[in-house]
Symmetry: C2
Subunit: 462 residues, 2 copies
Amino acid sequence: MKTISRLPQELIAALAARFNDRFSISPGICEHHGTDESSLSPAPPDGVVFAQSTEEVSAAVTLCHTYRVPVIAYGTGTSLEGHLHAVKGGVCIDLSGMNQVLAVRPEDLDASVQPGVTRKALNAALHGSGLFFPIDPGADASIGGMAATRASGTNAVRYGTMRESVLAMTVVLADGRIIKTGSRAKKSAAGYDLTRLFVGAEGTLGIITELTVRLHPLPEAITCAVCAFPTIAAAVDSVIQTIQLGVPVARIELLDTLSVTAINRYSKTTLREAPTLFFELHGSPAGVAEQTRVVQDIAAEHGGMDFAWADRPEERSRLWQARHDAYYACLGLQPGARSLTTDVCVPISRLAECIAASLDDLAQTGLTAPLLGHVGDGNFHMLLLVNPGDPAAMGQAQAYAQRLAERAIAMDGTCTGEHGIGLGKRKYMVMEHGAAALTAMRAIKQALDPHNLMNPGKILPD
Amino acid sequence: MKTISRLPQELIAALAARFNDRFSISPGICEHHGTDESSLSPAPPDGVVFAQSTEEVSAAVTLCHTYRVPVIAYGTGTSLEGHLHAVKGGVCIDLSGMNQVLAVRPEDLDASVQPGVTRKALNAALHGSGLFFPIDPGADASIGGMAATRASGTNAVRYGTMRESVLAMTVVLADGRIIKTGSRAKKSAAGYDLTRLFVGAEGTLGIITELTVRLHPLPEAITCAVCAFPTIAAAVDSVIQTIQLGVPVARIELLDTLSVTAINRYSKTTLREAPTLFFELHGSPAGVAEQTRVVQDIAAEHGGMDFAWADRPEERSRLWQARHDAYYACLGLQPGARSLTTDVCVPISRLAECIAASLDDLAQTGLTAPLLGHVGDGNFHMLLLVNPGDPAAMGQAQAYAQRLAERAIAMDGTCTGEHGIGLGKRKYMVMEHGAAALTAMRAIKQALDPHNLMNPGKILPD
């Protein structure tokens, strides 16, 4: 079969000359690189470069810039908002081969990595160092992709998000120039914060080719707990009180009854099918014991039941594996369904109200949507289960997701706590930020990428 | 006396019409607004507007934009790098009258304030709430100014800097448009991080007119300690080990022998005149007791002497007041002297080496320069005491400061941990960031302020 590509022949020739068999226009490879874990239809790029160094990324970007061809970075393909969909065609730069941990510096509690290193790979490399990298979005995503989408996850309530975790980066700009966005100093007041500008920019301002990230000492003691509550409100109120008292919980996760049911089926657990909190506490043995008492008292005040502690590593792993598998467990509730995943985040004072209104709204629609949340941060997901062959249900789910996003924004929250804007949430950008702030974002995009070549069609509405 | 101003007469008329007696071109008022706490000569603006609302700031900026006249924001005048010097003339907007705490939300651990609220005023307003605002640069600076310079101080090792503390801001852009840079959600992945872009931009991209900042629960227990060491290296090694073990110290400050001598004289303390660490520990009573044991053991291993604890609030206040007065205490070492204050920050693994090399270098010069440091972050200041009437000494001090900045940058650190670039450190921007990153910063400045009206002459080298 003859392969047809929309790329200019000269660019194809130049990329083939530079990268040999690490450049491909094979439809299978392109298709694979135009698909993520969202429910969006694939949008394959026209070619894929498998890069192995910053200089190679710069060379590929420079060539694409010469021919005014879009460039999209690819890590593990685990994004949830169509971040890697080549909606304007172009060349995908696959960074998964840039998977070296370049340095671990225990004295400075930091590590430098290539962008294709996944969070689990980094933690494996840290084995024996007494340190760990806490950011945990569930998927074993690449650290470059996590930075690009400002990812977070279950540990963010204690350890922050990628915004707080990245100290400095190497970035290839739209015209191929290579910049460093900071030093390894823990703090700096030296000029514009380029690091934070590229974190969360979803590859629309440049491609991250190296990162220095903060590490944390492994806690001396870790304990987990599961506690069921009579109502979601009781669970959320326990969370609010825990945070307000300054208990440094490492994780505090909410699951609604439906999610617990799904997990019991999928992971063969025997949790009580009720609104449930999963906790994890980190610290010294005495500190964890003290946190435990406080958390248990708060839960008891709010009708918490079946408080079960898991101190042994294998029990903890089993619990968190079940939590991380919740996405797949929930998909199993409705065979053949895909999930339209929402990601709102609100001030914690509005969380109970936001969840209650969203569950009321859900009851009106007849849709199935288990709820999971990183509730210490005010962030929760509803997984709207929809059969791809049912356009009416898909329309209903999209309308529901829009009402949910609008509700969160009206509560001074955000339409996305951790997944990013990508394609699908661009329509909320004006509502969330206002027209003037969006104009400022467009001015920055135009300044750094005047030909709109870096992951075009993402973040900013057309 | 007739008042002469370089401002266009039409602008003077328009500002006078809009602001009445809250607009002034009086030389005395202009002179006051062109002076900060640095050793730089004053550079007064040509007029001062005393603004009382975001709309008024927008109105003043719009008028200045129309006449292409520079605009400089003023808070408390406590900057250390000439941030408010009107080096290109223009209108100063004094925000000290915008001093209202707009909301305190204990459930969300946040507060919204006008930019002229000082850190002490915010903490006074929080009295009784069980919360506090931890960022503490020493001076009772305005929170708007602290955000603009990405300030931090003694508590940053535990609570972060203004980078981590600001959730969202209202900003007036160069053409007078008003934007919001974020929501009150604790985390968001919705587009470019405008909040972090304006934090640390030193008023060169816009003027901050409202801020929502994070608060923290007041710790149940607080304890302080002072410990003398045989050498600076022993003190620094104690700090490194404390940080590496994950002890969540709230403050850990280094003073060299000369600083201690200065403090003893100025604050009538009786500290041993040796390299000294000041600690503060926050937590539950049991947690603080546990931290205390660890810190004490580490100090003992490194030859720490005269370990003295201060648990009572008045003892603690006395200790920290002495620390905060160290700047004035050090000036007292050399009557008539001003301080050329340095502010480098390096990875903590390089801290002992950086300090040792800097003290060696100092010994060669014959200059007097006490050393004070937020050493948990790798940040330290040397106060180069110079008589303003001694140009030879000033030249020597400037050359020393340059070698110190270059040394820190070579160690993958920064020329400024918390004071900002302002006027004097622009010359290090290329060395620290590289030409390509600086070009990206210039592109952002050009995009948001095409006529270079917002605090021109700061951050970016001419």
